[in-house]
Symmetry: C2
Subunit: 164 residues, 2 copies
């Protein structure tokens, strides 16, 4: 399964096969675009501690991109055990993802989903085009987390899992 | 645990507490700087599919940064169940991380650790300073993965776990 070590980019099938073997935490990102917009992401990461910065990646061809591209603030929700259905809802196409999902307006007017183990509201500071996606850098301004232990929702080999 | 929703950056203790609740896959990144250099990272992510691009974040104050800042190529190793000791070794300070670690020179002369579930060798295409860290963007050129199912190593709440 090794590609010849020249300077050609890796074949896409092998790239995907390797990346499927990475475990990724599952988050839902939301913005207020007049109406609530949100999507499931497996790329949320902490970037910097001082100043605090986080990032996520989004396909610039996705239905959520126009709303994120013009958003001043985003909310990031970390999902936990038992929230696979929520993750699938915010990854599905052609549906109203917020219908039947309990949410309210949070700091800076961003839609906050109820019942998640942790969330952040962050100010978008930069969008960096990178291939067919963009890396969105944001500075956390507000947040909350549950105090009790929780089992985070993780995506691996095309399936949802939880830890612990 | 909510910070007042003004434009001030989130207090660092709360930021860390929220991020501890995120699960992150554990990878080791290596470069060839005349001698092998490597470190444990929990920020490895897929960025773009076409062209294939991956990223990881590194503290610009870390001991590995000078080697990564000047590297043309990097290797990314995804760790699996039972490799906590390897993850700890490449996160420890003041030790020779490669001593006692089986490795060999891989494509483009980068050090490849033996016995990992998946690895990629990638060409560094961009370094993006972001706060006290940098986001390193790289284009995968070669890679390999095990065919059998494996349990990825994940970091959560300051501890290593594996899934499945």
């Amino acid at each position: 399964m090794t590609i010849a070590p020249d300077q050609r980019a890796m074949e896409v099938g092998l790239f995907r096969a390797v990346l499927r073997r990475q475990a990724a935490s599952v988050a839902i990102i939301t913005v207020n675009a007049g109406q609530p917009v949100g999507f499931t992401a497996t790329s949320f990461a902490s970037v910097s501690a001082d100043p605090p910065l986080v990032s996520f990646n989004l396909d610039r061809g996705s239905s959520s991109w126009p709303a994120v591209a013009t958003a001043d603030h985003v909310a990031v929700h970390l999902l936990g055990h038992g929230q696979e259905e929520l993750a699938r809802r915010f990854a599905a196409s052609g549906t109203d993802r917020f219908a039947g999902t309990p949410w309210h307006l949070g700091p800076h007017g961003v839609p906050l989903l109820d019942g998640v183990p942790a969330w952040l509201v962050a100010r978008v500071v930069r969008q960096i085009p990178a291939g067919d996606h963009a890396i969105v850098l944001a500075e956390p301004l507000a947040g909350e987390h549950v105090d009790e232990p929780h089992a985070p929702l993780v995506y691996h080999m095309g399936r949802y899992h939880s830890i612990g």
